[in-house]
Amino acid sequence: MSLKFSDPQDQQDRNLKSLVFLIATGLASLFLIGRLFWVQVVQYEENQRLSESNRIRRIVIKAERGYIYDRNGNLMVRNRPSYQVALMPYQLREGDSVFNRLLRLRDTTNTRLVDSSALDYVFQRGKWQKFRPLRILEDASDAQVAFIEERLDEFPGIITIVESRRDYPYGTMASHAFGYTGEISEDQLADSTYINEGYSFGDRIGQKGLEKEYENEFRGKNGVKYIEVNAYGKEIGVIPEMEHEMASQGNSMITTIDLNLQKVAEAAFPDSLKGGMVAINPKNGEILALVSSPRLDPNIFSLEKKSLAKQWASVALDSTQPLNNRAVSGTYPPGSVFKFVTASAALEYHVITQDTKYKACNGGFHFGNRYARCWTSRGHGRLSVIDALEQSCDVFFYQCGLDVGMERINEVGRRFGLGSKLGVDIPGEKPGLLMDSVTYNTRFKRLGWRWSRGQILNLSIGQGELVTPLQVAAYFGALASNKGLYQPHLMKEIRTPQGQVLKQYQIKKINDGHLKTENHQIIVEAMEQVVSGAHGTGGGAAVPGVRVGGKTGSAENPQGKKTHAWFVGVAPLNDPTICVAAVMENAGHGGVTAHAIGKVLRYYFLGDTSLSNAKLKAAAEAQGNGD
């Protein structure tokens, strides 16, 4: 039935087909109208409600972080308001030039308010995250915020948000203990535990120190409010019938830090030197002061990204590593500070008595074909254990160490917390290292080194072990008190923002840390001789009227520069309440450090650091009766 070109189609056929076409399109139209009826009449209420709720924006009110106080109630860490300018991507309109207009914004110095690549990133991200504010301008100045606020109509999709940021009014003071907060990282966000805890992009979270350790206490609980918004994201008003949930501020913390003592400690520790200092109360493990040098100003982490990046680069790339908390993470050979461990082990295992004297020190010691020097070539002669500790004679401890053996020395070291983490409540603590034949052989297997008894010579005078300043303070304090080793800690109390006590730190004895009474007496006498004896190496730590014990140490460092200078001081010796340990890198002899610790101890007992000799004497007489 092929049609010729000129053949008209059969009229009836055309009419039928037209009718079919009209019926088909008519039915399709009726179908659509039926659907309209369903959506607009049957589901009207539901859709009406949904359309209402569209105008309502759920706003998360970020909780303010809890404050941190020192032990006397001085406010050490607080918050400040910080303004953010952000993009609400779903409010952007197709074809709108907000992007370009934002780029055109310049401040008074004619620099661009927003960086084009950063803005591009935000707009790209906005394609995926349409309903979350994405920050364009961080920590904006008041002037910038006012400028934007006045022009919200010109920038549909742009909003301003107030956040609170950490503020450290004392700057570097105890900054390594407090740590800092920072924006949650992509890695952290990829970790489901953070997501489950309710963190989201742009949140600030404790990244170091107490801020990190006690994040859950400080962060508080975010609140929610519902507000009506218009097309430009301008908040028209709160919606009264929707229930609000107020944000509750995080808990505050009373730390064990003593601000005044901390100030003295920071002042006593020279800025130019690297190292760490820890003051601890041996009776309960409270850390009274914690210094790590070079200092770090945690306020830089609250800066906006560009400044932060600059500052961050300067601290992160700094070869002196100011980010490193040397007080708990810095490991150094203990040097002569370790001799008290060797001596205690010798006494405890009855290898020596108070009166045992070894071969005289002529400035060195022959062991096999090796000649091990004493620190002074003049020699110390024949010494008892107390004198050997007072004068820090190496030759005595070479012989003593060989007699006792590393297993027994290390056993006593472990009693006082050396060689393992103490569990201080800030992250990053290092365990240090105690060395014996097994450890030595496994550790240096790759280098092909084998243990020999000659190693004992070095190890018994503290060259070869690794300790942190915190461990030294804890060990020496426990050794002096003989009442056990308490877990060092910085948290004293957790309180509600209103000041109600929620938690108190439960003091924890982590190790027996105990010597036989007669041995303890010998050790304490030796400690005292170091500071106040005629040949004592730690005279700088003396406090008039107070029985101070201590020990110097010079840790050889592998770089072969000047030795690291150790000092640890403890007082009062009859019932110690403070033990201060410090290491100063490449500062030479421990005597330097002793002076710094002396300042801390004098402040602690006398309330002054700059006493003249006359005043010192007067103070001594006033206080002296009891000792």
Partner: protein, 415 residues
């Protein structure tokens, strides 16, 4: 011409003012909707979407007038050259590359105008298929009658599918089916030809596929087609059904299945693909029977509905004018069909008939798919609503089709 139907048309050889009125009404509604959807844009009036749309319409009417000055024969004559030209354009965007809007390369930049070759292809394909089928009928009894129109169809179909522009590919399919019907394909036969496609979908459920196959058998038995055709249809159905079943259950991975299901039913993914559809449904639904009133749509004014002035313009109408306004627009489109198809009763020339029905099909297919999409019944494929959606390219296509309808009524005899 002495048919009783002619009473409907007192003077056949004149401009169809009622069709012009229907189109003008739709355009007025369209401009009002584009205005209300974009009124809050802080731009000068002469840069605004509604003003630009008026310009598009003006140019569109220019096209109509130009077409009215032409002779129907001209379109018959240029059908093949025009068709091959559009194929070249399609290949140009596909292989040489055009500018991309929304990720799919569909545009060619021409400085002042951006042209979208797939829009030209709709016209070109309409012309060429109308011309071919006005000389040759098709029937399932003569399977080879489908070879040439099939080739004419497959080439542009694949080219736009590759862009990827599924919606335009579907426009070609709809046009083809209706014109085949006009060229002699019987409805049961059309069902049989389409049944393998149905099989692919029905394979999801054994019951549905069983029902489909029963129907296919009944139709085949009633039609008494040649045995090899009947057998081929059954084999194709079985192959399509099993193939689809195997691919769906064994080859596709869970996320691929999920993507297909989400494409068919965007409501499965309310935050992603379904967001626009849900917002659109809510927008229309919140209009109720009478609507919130012109300019009072909170959904549109508060910008919760993306693409509101283009693909989702119908939702803007629904919110502000409710079911009444929405139904009137549907009615206007159906009146357009009525006025169009009416030409087939005046003029008997197959080319005129094909062109008329094809134009009506293209327009109505857009109307149906677009509205179904805004109501959450169809995938978001990006088909605009004729005369209402903002956008230059498609306005031109629509106006050319309107021009054809007016021309063929005016001068249909002259061919």
């Amino acid at each position: 011409m002495k048919d009783s139907n002619m009473q409907l048309v007192k003077e056949p050889h004149r401009l169809d003012w009622s069709l012009i009125t229907v189109v003008a009404l739709l355009m007025t509604i369209g401009i009002a909707m584009v205005y209300s959807a974009t009124a809050s844009d802080p731009v000068a009036w002469y840069k605004s979407f509604w003003f630009r749309q008026i310009i598009h319409f003006t140019i569109g009417w220019g096209f109509v007038v130009a077409i009215l000055f032409s002779k129907p024969r001209l379109w018959y004559n240029i059908a093949y050259p025009f068709y091959f030209f559009t194929l070249l354009l399609l290949m140009f965007v596909l292989f040489v590359g055009g500018e991309s809007s929304h990720g799919a390369g569909r545009w060619i930049g021409m400085g002042l105008f951006n042209i979208q070759p797939s829009e030209f292809a709709k016209i070109g394909y309409l012309l060429v298929l109308s011309r071919y089928l006005s000389n040759t009928s098709v029937s399932l009894e003569r399977p080879f009658s489908f070879v040439i129109p099939g080739l004419l169809f497959v080439v542009p179909f694949l080219l736009v599918l590759k862009q990827p522009n599924l919606s335009t590919a579907l426009v070609f399919s709809a046009t083809t089916l209706v014109l085949f019907y006009w060229a002699g394909l019987r409805l049961p036969d059309m069902f049989l030809m389409l049944s393998p496609v149905f099989s692919v979908i029905a394979a999801m459920s054994q019951l549905a596929w069983g029902g489909l196959m029963t129907t296919v058998f009944v139709v085949i038995w009633r039609r008494k087609l040649p045995a090899f055709i009947s057998a081929s249809i059954i084999i194709l159905n079985v192959a399509a059904g099993f193939g689809s079943f195997m691919v769906w259950n064994s080859i596709l991975k869970e996320h691929q299945r999920s993507r297909i299901l989400t494409f068919v039913n965007p409501l499965r993914d309310p935050k992603g693909a379904g967001y626009q559809v849900i917002q659109s449904k809510v927008t229309i639904g919140s209009g109720g029977v009478t609507g919130k009133g012109f300019g009072l749509g909170s959904q549109t004014n508060l910008a919760f509905l993306p693409e509101e002035h283009t693909d989702f313009i119908y939702s803007v109408l629904g919110e502000q004018f409710g079911m009444i306004g929405c139904s009137i627009v549907i009615l206007l489109f159906w009146l357009l069909m009525l006025r169009g198809v009416n030409i087939c009763q005046i003029h008997g020339h197959p080319f005129v008939n094909m062109m008329v029905v094809g134009s009506c099909t293209i327009l109505f297919f857009h109307v149906f798919v677009n509205i179904a999409m805004t109501l959450g019944l169809a995938p978001v494929t990006g088909l605009p609503l004729p005369f209402l959606s903002y956008g230059g390219s498609f306005v031109m296509t629509s106006m050319i089709l309107v021009g054809f309808l007016l021309l063929l009524r005016f001068k249909g005899e002259e061919i």
